[in-house]
Symmetry: D2
Subunit: 250 residues, 4 copies
């Protein structure tokens, strides 16, 4: 399962271009934030509901499923109308009101590991979703806080076999946030697949240098296409297969 797309929905042109590019390379799910949790109130906060409409349009045009983030109880209701997967971000892993609301939606939830969450805490947060009756939970390793300024986070890939041992839930990996550096995304996406990840989520932008957020860690579309070719082979080595997009006409 490969989820790809820009950090934020920025414009119709941007999200449609991105959707076509990642679909062409073989992704089956489009990511893109309509609401963005930003450390500073003065950073770009996302387009909000109009962003959701653009995601719906991208789905109509490409057949990709949509994965986008909800930041609060109210947001879950809006996001659930459009998204095929509701994302809960790292900063909100222990936002229990949000977890309960997402648990009551009937959409699959992508739950990202908090920046300093133990695996046990990640699984307990998933339990908040399960306890509300939502069993479609996908966990995501996206890097934990570390001391080395070279990378944005420490990408803790061992979380993948650890979760596979402790839980029946699938776990995917986010090498874009995990490393924070475009040129590290390809090797670390390969590593995630080799470690047994059930999928990856990758930031891809038609023009990373013009991105309103996370440009430095977004792949160029052709880099993403190369990454897809490499992980297809690695997946096979460990007896797995990358899910293929279903064409819209099919």
């Amino acid at each position: 399962m490969v989820i790809a797309g820009p950090c934020s929905v920025e414009s119709e042109r941007q999200i449609l271009d991105a959707a076509r590019q990642v679909e062409e390379a073989g992704a089956v799910i489009l990511r893109g934030g309509a609401w963005k949790p930003r450390s500073s109130p003065y950073s770009f906060q996302g387009l909000g509901r109009p962003g959701l409409q653009l995601l719906a349009k991208a789905r109509d045009e490409t057949g990709l499923l949509i994965c986008t983030e909800a930041m609060d109880h109210e947001g879950v209701a809006h996001v659930a109308e459009v998204a095929d997967i509701i994302q809960i971000g790292a900063r909100n892993m222990q936002n229990f009101s949000l977890l309960k609301a997402a648990g009551r939606s009937n959409k699959p939830v992508l739950l990202k590991r908090g920046m300093s969450a133990t695996i046990e805490e990640l699984l307990l947060s998933a339990e908040y979703l399960l306890a509300e009756g939502n069993h479609d939970v996908i966990l995501c390793e996206r890097g934990i806080r570390g001391f080395d300024p070279t990378t944005r986070n420490v990408f803790d890939l061992t979380a993948i076999p650890v979760v596979h041992k402790l839980s029946h839930l699938p776990i995917i990996a986010d090498p874009s946030h995990g490393t924070g550096l475009r040129e590290k995304v390809i090797p670390m996406a390969r590593a995630a697949v080799a470690a047994g990840a059930d999928g990856i989520i990758v930031e891809v932008h038609p023009h990373p240098d013009q991105a309103l957020s996370d440009g430095a860690q977004s792949l160029y579309p052709d880099q993403f296409a190369q990454l897809m070719r490499e992980i297809r082979v690695i997946a096979e080595v460990i007896g797995r297969r990358i899910a293929e997009p279903v064409s819209v006409g099919a």
Copy 2:
């Protein structure tokens, strides 16, 4: 400024006893959670709105101000009716919807540092409150995640002089969560005051061994009284004074 009281409001008897005990020892603000953010959905989650009513009653009986936590947008409205200070917990430091709601309330906000938040991120979260027009913000160091299993957290007291240098906002310290161990609370509360903290927030329970949450880090009432005596002298050394309670009759 000394804030003291139990982790959670558990019963009328418990919160009124606690209130009288901390008031007698010299605290001016009563803490106690009506809603509790817990890692597991199966742990005690707090009494909810009835807990708020018990806090209001404790205020009427002792004259103490009330500090209690809001966990979401809706919670802010309820808490603001009763509390004199709205607490935002460490897990919610980057719950931006909650920050905006608290910023629009007209109550002082106690903002706790996230478990792996940098000082800059703490100040940016405060900025979300300030940007909504709420200038009564009190920051709180409560320990960051560390690698040593001996203590629950690493109590990063250097945050106090660092915040004093970078910001005009006051910062208090929470040695109960900072250490997680009852017998370490007294020395570390003294250390916080010596480092220049603008206040402390301490968990005190009439019967810590019967507490429904955080019993192991809650002081016995007589330990709290001893702590108050010690920090009064240390505060004087650095030219400060512990705020005194105003008696209800006054």
Copy 3:
């Protein structure tokens, strides 16, 4: 380049068995400690010089090269007589006297990253070796200290592409110490190769449950053979090849 063998040299039988087993599976270098840095003075400290003699014997019998650790200036002289590669352990990454001594030996040095060393500090420690004229330096990622008790360390595989970008030095990975858990070694060794590691170093013991040190993270010989098969294919995917052992008779 695959380095494999037990944590410590324990007996002639143990090291010769291990040597034959890892050679058969395709390793080209035998690891095994004669001196062991142990947190406690009461833990097994290694056989010392007799351990070195057993390693020499294992080389004679299998043709494997020998990689073993030196813990101080004096040790470098002894180790250099027997070893083909001198290992400097994580705890000694900033033992500058040891670095200088190893830099003056004319043997390749395997330098492990310290438990909380930044990549920059690792490269500066390598610089101590280079500055003495020793240019055969191999770096090694072996896990950094983290907060999650599930694993022994956080295996920071992103260090591999980071080092490849910043330095011309090769870097290998140690999934045994990186995870501390036998069943995580295979997926994480695959991940290391997929991330571009120039080799791996793995603990393998003929009877892990009887090991005097690190038994819980040592592979059974047949697990190691499986790992070799898997990484051969992954190496090919990224255009690399696992070095093959040269038979003794050749």
Copy 4:
């Protein structure tokens, strides 16, 4: 017990000036490195044995005891000739050959906590000294590695009551390395004393802006005098007393 002085011995003038200044303010032990463990081989490495002679001269002139660092087995022999206390630095906390050599000297040893050492590991390293028959061991908290770039380290003062509970060994604190910032040294030294530290070790330099190492965290002599005044009062609050220098003539 207050240990003070420059990071490194740089010249006769510098060390004698520093010695007089800290003696005048009330320190009883002079610190100053003759050999300096530096991350880079190209940084100032200390004066070596001539530095030791300058320390001996400073002792003769002021009556201060001398505390200086040994970096290896050989160094212990040299340092033991001159020093009253042998320091083992944080990077060497698990340099077991050095620990054994220092354990066989008959001088008190100041053992600094490693950058990512647990308290248990610190106590086990002390055990290496005790096991050699040296019972004069002083532990030292000097900050652990953290994720916040604002400070050089995380000064983990809770280590003080934790060590007091687990061990009979005294523990002092080093606010200079603990914070890495001159203006944070005074509040954090106060905090260390309030937390119950058995002493502090502080970097003081006659001209911090000209220091060859650690200038940014070294106090000006008059700042040190102010710090001494403040901690004398705090020590009294918790029923302790700062050791007074014995004048040379006495």
